[in-house]
């Protein structure tokens, strides 16, 4: 029997994706407005993470862009801001609250739900 200490260390899944998080992706809103963000930020969304890391990839993601015909520009902008806020929060650099304007809360929540973030 192999003792706990001698077992080969499993590969850290985060590490495996490391080479993949470089570069940028383009998110396109319902109105056709384009947001170019770091791939690392886009991966905060589980939905985008799945798209960007699935073997073969979705046709859009191979070209480095994802269209959201149901998410309007101002909501998509807010979501991109959240991606970066989340990265900073997780690394301990962000302590301020993430601001959400009351008039967009419900639309933002539905988009966040779709993006699983």
């Amino acid at each position: 029997m192999v003792g706990k200490g001698e077992a080969p260390a499993p590969r850290d899944p985060e590490e495996e994706e490391e080479e993949d998080t470089g570069g940028v992706v383009k998110l396109i809103s319902a109105e056709g407005f384009e947001f170019v963000i770091d791939k690392k930020a886009a991966m905060v969304s589980n939905t985008l993470r799945n798209m960007l890391t699935s073997p073969g990839g979705f046709s859009e993601t191979r070209q480095g862009e994802v269209r959201f015909p149901e998410i309007s520009t101002h909501i998509l902008e807010k979501i991109c801001q959240y991606f970066y806020w989340s990265l900073h929060y997780s690394s301990g650099q962000e302590t301020a609250e993430f601001p959400i304007e009351p008039e967009i809360t419900l639309d933002l929540m539905m988009a966040a739900n779709y993006l699983d973030t």
């Binding site: 959400i100 009351p102 933002l108 973030t117």
Partner: protein, 581 residues
């Protein structure tokens, strides 16, 4: 002065209550719903800190919290996807922010779960919105509400319902229970303490053939009603605790419920004859007969229930004769024989119950000889020997029980010299030595037990010198030292026990305000008792840092209720139990 003498806790002890520290609100405490914080202290802590440290809140969570803040500006969530409106609903209930007005926004939202158990102010008006969820509704909890028959009847079209709890709903009548008979998909039903559950009212249950769990605890008029359960063949769990009008004649309707796995009958008026109806329940794993008027004669029937894992015979009239029938119950993990007339002669029949993890022999006539038969019960985790004739000599039979996590030796004949024999039980977490014969010498023999989380030395004669041992017990969560001989100097050895949530230093008449100053760093404290000491009004300000404090007892001290109240209002919002008041 009620707390001045050593005492036994709780008159009736129940397995599941042992694990539940939650403040239980029953019907007669409805008024408390408006004053108590909704969550327990752990939740209060969590809420104050936001989501678990290090984990980033999801955007959905942030939006839900934002909606809760601005709830007044929303009137309709019916266009939201169901999972989102459900999250908002749950959040509002959790933080106590749901009102009759804000509830309206959830009309026709296809919610699946409406858990308003113990929520303040729930009335029939609320039930209209609950009922508007229609076929989506799967589970409802309106326990402790003022919902009446007409409110309940609004749910009649919600026939998908799988789970319903209406405990302590004292406005519901026999007639109102008829609504339940339409819920054919119901698998779980709880109606604790409901006077409407009578021979007539229980008719509603006969239709509910899919029921798996049925909880009718404390229904005071249920006699004659169990006949309507006899067709509920899928029943696995049935709770009839404290239905003290249930008699032997009711029991016969349980005899065909052969899928029963758990049956709670404590404090029912049943005798050995009533137990005989359980003969065919071969799947029964939990049987609770606590406080029933049965004798050891019923063990003949019980011995045939080979699946039993938990058997509670506490406070029955069990004598030695008949206990040989326990021998075959080799699957037993928990056996409660407390408060019976059994002697050492009974314990020989337990020696092969090698799967036992919990054994309760509280107040039985057993002594050192009997413990010999427990030697081989290597799985034992918990052993209750309080108020027995066990002495120091008997403890040697326990020194091999390596898995023992909890042992109660209060009010036994054990003295200091006996404690050496349990000093090797390194799994011990809970130790009760509430016993006048125990002194500093005995405590010094136990310093190897560094895993202790609960130590009760209530009546033990521990002095300041003995408190030096406490530094070996860094994991202590509860400590009681009330022998009268501790001074402020001894408390210095307590001030670093940062994990303490319960501290009882009452009856130590020499403790002064200095004690409060010393313990002011024990910020995890939930309960503090320094009654019968010299603690005074001028020392109270030292308690300000104890933000988790929920219970404070300073009975018979030179303090005034007014000053404590001032402290509570100014600094300790979680404090709900205060003496003097």
């Amino acid at each position: 002065m009620g707390s001045a003498c050593s005492r036994k806790r709780g008159q009736l002890v129940h397995e599941d209550d042992l694990y539940s520290a939650r403040f239980s609100k029953s019907g007669s405490f409805k008024w408390l719903l408006h004053t108590l914080p909704r969550s327990n202290s752990a939740d209060v802590h969590r809420r104050a800190q936001g989501p678990a440290l290090g984990r980033c809140p999801s955007l959905v969570e942030l939006c839900v919290a934002k909606v809760r803040e601005d709830m007044n500006s929303y009137s309709d969530f019916s266009l939201l996807p169901r999972d989102l409106s459900q999250q908002i609903f749950n959040e509002l209930v959790e933080c106590g922010g749901l009102t009759e007005a804000s509830l309206g926004a959830f009309r026709d939202c296809d919610l699946q779960d409406i858990c308003l158990g113990e929520y303040p102010g729930v009335t029939d008006v609320w039930m209209e919105v609950v009922a508007s969820q229609g076929q989506s509704l799967l589970s409802v909890d309106i326990s402790c509400s003022d919902v009446t028959d007409s409110g309940l009847s609004l749910l009649k079209d919600c026939s998908s319902m799988q789970s319903l709890a209406c405990d302590y709903c004292d406005q519901i009548s026999e007639h109102g229970l008829k609504t339940l008979s339409g819920f054919l998909n119901l698998t779980s039903l709880s109606i604790k303490k409901c006077a409407a559950v009578t021979a007539e009212g229980a008719k509603a249950f006969a239709n509910l053939v899919n029921l798996v769990n049925l909880d009718l605890e404390r229904c005071p008029k249920i006699h004659g009603g169990l006949v309507h359960l006899k067709g509920l063949r899928k029943l696995e769990k049935l709770n009839l605790r404290y239905c003290n009008c249930i008699t032997d004649s009711d029991m016969k309707y349980l005899s065909d419920l052969t899928n029963l796995r758990e049956l709670q009958l404590s404090s029912c008026k049943i005798s050995d004859f009533g137990v005989s109806y359980l003969r065919g329940l071969h799947k029964l794993a939990h049987l609770n007969l606590e406080g029933c008027a049965v004798t050891a004669a019923c063990l003949e029937v019980v011995s045939g229930l080979a699946s039993l894992v938990l058997l509670n015979l506490s406070r029955c009239g069990i004598c030695d004769e008949g206990c040989e029938n326990l021998e075959g119950l080799v699957k037993l993990k928990a056996l409660n024989l407390g408060f019976n007339h059994i002697t050492d002669a009974c314990l020989i029949h337990l020696k092969d119950l090698i799967n036992l993890e919990c054994l309760n022999l509280d107040s039985c006539k057993i002594g050192d000889e009997g413990l010999f038969h427990l030697k081989g019960l290597m799985q034992l985790k918990s052993l209750e020997l309080s108020d027995t004739e066990v002495g120091s000599n008997g403890l040697r039979h326990l020194s091999g029980l390596r898995n023992l996590q909890s042992i109660n030796l209060s009010f036994t004949l054990v003295t200091d010299i006996g404690l050496k024999k349990i000093s090797g039980l390194s799994s011990l977490k809970s130790l009760n030595l509430d016993n006048r014969q125990i002194t500093d010498t005995g405590l010094a023999a136990l310093t190897s037990l560094t895993g202790l989380t609960h130590l009760d030395l209530f009546g033990a004669r521990i002095t300041d010198a003995g408190t030096n041992c406490f530094r070996f017990f860094k994991n202590l969560q509860s400590l009681e030292v009330c022998g009268g001989m501790i001074t402020d100097a001894g408390v210095k050895n307590i001030k670093d026990l940062k994990a303490l949530t319960l501290l009882n230093l009452s009856q130590n008449g020499n403790l002064t305000d200095k004690t409060l100053e010393l313990i002011s760093g024990l910020t995890a404290l939930v309960s503090l008792n320094v009654s019968n000491s010299r603690v005074s009004n001028s020392g109270l300000h030292h308690l300000t840092p104890l933000q988790n404090l929920r219970s404070l007892s300073l009975e018979s001290c030179p303090v005034t209720a007014a000053e404590i109240k001032k402290l509570r209002l100014a600094a300790l919002p979680n404090l709900i139990t205060v003496r003097p008041e």
